[in-house]
């Protein structure tokens, strides 16, 4: 697998769309390309952020934040 193919596979990898046999080849290439591969995969995770930002924000129930902060306070005190 050359680096261009690895880049294609990386974009599939970060959204979990590689099939098992592709994943095996991908991991071998990932080791072969080392830091360059890790840096590129890190960049591809920006796709997650973009997909989320493309959605219209939804309104959460006000009680959710109260419950969350109460749980955090309890956890801190424990």
């Amino acid at each position: 697998m050359n680096f261009k193919e690895f880049q294609n596979q990386s974009r599939l990898y970060v959204i979990g769309a590689l099939e098992p046999e592709e994943l095996e080849q991908f991991e071998k290439a990932r080791k072969k390309f080392g830091k360059k591969a890790e840096d590129y995969i890190g960049e591809c995770y920006g796709l997650h952020e973009a997909f989320a930002l493309s959605l219209r924000p939804a309104k959460a129930s006000a009680a959710i934040k109260e419950r969350l902060m109460a749980m955090v306070r309890t956890r801190k005190e424990a």
Partner: protein, 225 residues
């Protein structure tokens, strides 16, 4: 970080049209810009790592809407989405020490975590069939959810969201559908092929082409935001 430094704000900067220089770091992040003086996401994460509950409160105010929209897109159930949102922010609090800025941006980390939890939740709660039915109904009414949202005139979109949607909705519908099923429903290529009655090789090509266009489009966007 002291509480006084964590100025709560979710308002965005006015629209900037000037194209930024090409010397910016080559990352695909397109996170919305914050008002001057507002703590960055990274500052909030560092404060959360130091167990500052106020920082979590601010991060929640800033991103609960985006994360809930993502969860809802996966599980299609309002009450379950609220519960899961709470669990996810609790996990952000508990797992903050595992966040490393060298591996990515806080929002990317949170979205990855939320997506994984939402897809896990969908499967664990055996709500898959129900969501499938709801999604099917929604799909029949609005064949392209991304495109539909983008044309809702009553919604005032932020610059960031509007520009990202332009990139996504610029893809051919078949590519949008393949990416939607993979990202928001956690489907493998084989599952997408089966669901859409499409050859596996075609699904792979659609995903590869679509993701590359989005990735390249996001890089272009960095100069627009």
């Amino acid at each position: 970080m002291g509480r006084s430094k964590l100025i709560s704000s979710t308002r965005r900067k006015p629209r900037k049209r000037a194209r930024l220089t090409k010397s910016r770091p080559q990352a695909t992040s397109v996170a919305p810009q914050l008002e001057p003086g507002a703590p960055s996401d990274l500052q909030l994460m560092k404060a959360i790592q130091a167990e500052d509950a106020d920082a979590l409160s601010q991060l929640y105010d800033r991103y609960n809407g985006i994360l809930k929209a993502l969860i809802l897109r996966v599980i299609h159930n309002e009450a379950e989405a609220d519960d899961l949102l709470q669990e996810i922010f609790m996990e952000i609090w508990n797992q903050a020490k595992n966040f490393s800025s060298q591996k990515g941006k806080p929002l990317g980390w949170m979205v990855t975590l939320a997506r994984r939890r939402a897809i896990d939740g969908l499967r664990k709660k055996q709500a898959y069939a129900r969501a499938e039915e709801r999604l099917q109904n929604e799909t029949e009414q609005q064949p392209d959810a991304w495109a539909h949202n983008a044309t809702e005139e009553e919604i005032v979109l932020s610059d960031t969201r509007h520009l990202i949607r332009n990139v996504i909705t610029g893809l051919p519908p078949a590519q949008q559908q393949a990416i939607d099923l993979a990202f928001f429903r956690g489907m493998s290529q084989r599952e997408i092929a089966a669901k859409t009655n499409t050859p596996l090789g075609t699904v792979k090509t659609r995903l590869e082409l679509g993701l590359k266009k989005i990735y390249d489009g996001l890089k272009e966007l960095r100069g627009e935001l």
